[in-house]
Symmetry: C2
Subunit: 518 residues, 2 copies
Amino acid sequence: MLRLGPLAAAGRLLPSGPRLGPPCPAGDRVSLSWSWPPPPLRPVGDRGLLSRQVRATAGSAGGGGRGAALKTPKGTRDHPPAHVVLRDRLLAAVVACFKRHGAAAIDTPVLELRETLTGKYGEDAKLIYELQDQGGELLALRYDLTVPFARYLAMNKITKMKRYHIAKVYRRDNPATTRGRYREFYQCDFDIAGQFDPMIPDAECLKIVHEILSDLQLGDFLIKVNDRRILNAVFAVCGIPESKFITTCSTVDKLDKMPWEEVRSEMVGEKGLSPEAADHIGEYVQLHGGLDLIERLLQDPKLSQNKLAKEGLGDMKLLFEYLTLFGITGKISFDLSLARGLDYYTGVIFEAVLLQQENDHVEEPVSVGSVAGGGRYDGLVGMFDPKGRKVPCVGVSIGIERIFSILEQRVKASGDKVRTTETQVLVATPQKHLLAARLKLISELWDAGIKAEMLYKKDPKLLKQLQYCEDMGIPLAAIVGEQELTDGVIKLRDVATREEVDIPREKLLHEIRRRLEP
Amino acid sequence: MLRLGPLAAAGRLLPSGPRLGPPCPAGDRVSLSWSWPPPPLRPVGDRGLLSRQVRATAGSAGGGGRGAALKTPKGTRDHPPAHVVLRDRLLAAVVACFKRHGAAAIDTPVLELRETLTGKYGEDAKLIYELQDQGGELLALRYDLTVPFARYLAMNKITKMKRYHIAKVYRRDNPATTRGRYREFYQCDFDIAGQFDPMIPDAECLKIVHEILSDLQLGDFLIKVNDRRILNAVFAVCGIPESKFITTCSTVDKLDKMPWEEVRSEMVGEKGLSPEAADHIGEYVQLHGGLDLIERLLQDPKLSQNKLAKEGLGDMKLLFEYLTLFGITGKISFDLSLARGLDYYTGVIFEAVLLQQENDHVEEPVSVGSVAGGGRYDGLVGMFDPKGRKVPCVGVSIGIERIFSILEQRVKASGDKVRTTETQVLVATPQKHLLAARLKLISELWDAGIKAEMLYKKDPKLLKQLQYCEDMGIPLAAIVGEQELTDGVIKLRDVATREEVDIPREKLLHEIRRRLEP
């Protein structure tokens, strides 16, 4: 499904920097500018000026500092140019998908009132960063993009909206930076708010996860789906009191990381469930399947008597019908162990995980856990509305940092380098005392929209200038010397072939543009 | 110098969303997708689903909330889709310029260690947001992008780098939101670090300001230039003790907002300067001009005896020579009243202001103050380096929020609407019981990379669906009904002309792409 960008496919220098598509009138499917495994890129050396590529490590110390510790805060990191280029391409692919589905972008402040975040995250509330009270409001850093979205909807009395939001969120979590877990990280959220016919927006969210993970070619994946109503019904028929639903949920949620026996003992030990109830739950939450499983549970003597279960299973059946029409059920699993930690979910929940591949060509495979997750939260907006009016919502969040960790690892393994600048022409000179001529020429190029650099020296050596082109992957050098000034020409050098041609000054822009055409 | 994007020029619907240029091989000068004054856009109605455009106000209350205040923190604001579209276009123009000058992008955390920010901002340090000590490091929100850049260079031992960074910064300032001043706001920084021949990178920074302000067509502007060494020399020859240089600087800096008499009385009253010294300073700081003024000051009996003054004036002369070669001295003024508040400047400083225009077509002109500023800071990196090694730097920051306020005001005045989604096709149906057909069709379109939407209803009315196209500016409707299913065709409707044609199913993608071609 992925089409390689023309440059990547041809194995030429990668264009760099943040690039979100042009108004794409013909609407080709996302053209990513990198391929996987990477094409044979022309490596860019790192000897030259400005080309040093830094591998930043999370919160890494750079050695003392005069009194001040020279580091970023724990669990955070700097992103050097090669990171930013890769990350921006990743984000561009995600944004392209969100736009393909008709979403509009919003942005909200990194700071929220503390009370906005209070009571939304259950046990995780302790991970919220709080600001000092400096004689004003009590503030905190946003923990996700979902609660701010709900606040935004309620504050502006919006009852229907399809929006995406890509921004950093903050969690005082125990960072596991090697697994792509940071305290400051990007979330990429797509949400549909509004009262609609059941499961149509929910199915679209799953389609979006499927599209993005397919586009990024991350290998095989699985999207687990469940419903909070089904989980609650299971707890109810197993005799768990309603007051223990949420805490039981968060224990069940650990089934993907620990075996059933451990989960069971946490239920009985820490959460105070009876061994019988725990065993009973175990019979259900270890089930997973597709439409067949849904049908079977609809016939289950206990669940079929439970109103919540019937609603949840009925909707799940509808969802699977829609997913069949989308042709994506092959990667979807109805999994009763999926619980998701957050308090605010009320219906369908889902989570995508990458599957370890047998023939994985990466030397040290990264374990990354879930790479996308989401669900329905019909009550959250109502928590903000003065009159408690509900706006049903369903949404998905793409775990871009974890995906980035995988891609970064692969780039590293490939040994290739990413070009971090886009300079097209170096303005150079072979003799001394020609700074004025260079400044005049480069100014003309900039004014014509050509990406140009020159060395910041009065009298640089020609060899150094040409070396800089090679190091930085600059394709052309525009050389102005005494002879060229006399003749009214510029010597245009193709850095790769080393060919040089004199171009009349008045034809220079035209010739440069012609040569830079793809 | 500005070329209108083809869509804007033709007065058609504006493409929306964040769009940073493609790898621009032919290197045309920035094509902004909006023009000034705005072309006669086709307005997009706001009656339809999802199309409500919200005017967010800074920290505005949305009315109570169930216990919780429904607002954003003081001095911050939400950005609804129309904002984000406009802002992203603005940022795209700035990024295009930074890339044209060969810069690479970096990103640093919003959080920094408090000690990283300590001692860098002089009197303004009280405006730094501090986080609660939650049993770990003492953290603060970044106040600008310059100090984190210096920290980054020192930490990674980088001695040469040309980078840009576009990100939010935080200042507990008294917000003047009508003038585009917020507590959370974007900065767009371009900096050149490294030991180079004098004034070449400095001149490039001024060229960049000139290019961006010209590209954005904000009206006439002026870039004021001065040098901290010249200012210090002026203070010295006027008999001010060195301990009072910085505080005198910040008083002089107010000359653009208050008359000399008031500045003088602050110097004598608050800052404790003698009336004679203040008058003496007044003779200098009210001067402004070009090369002629530089020559005159080089002959000044007192300044010509001062080492700092000779250095500063000599460099200023060189700078003006380079700016002459760039052809931009027409908008540059050597202005001895320019001081800039920040502690860390050591050489050239500059600030761009928009000039009020006589024939301004805006009804309520916004007073925005400076829209760009910067200067040389040769000592900052050394403050972080364990051995105090210096990395000379010069940089510029574009005040994007203020520029945005102006553009926003103009869009408002024009009464035009910005399209906030890019949907190309609405998948519709004229009869009931055809949800499955719609889901199948829209899935095909998404998989082919076409931006498509459908209403989230099982059986929507055709009129509602077509109305949605009109409201949202969606150019095409792909209609699947019973007859179309039988005939193996899709009815393709041109929303603007209302023409409908049956297209064989297998030719649909081709036909849609053909029609969407520019």
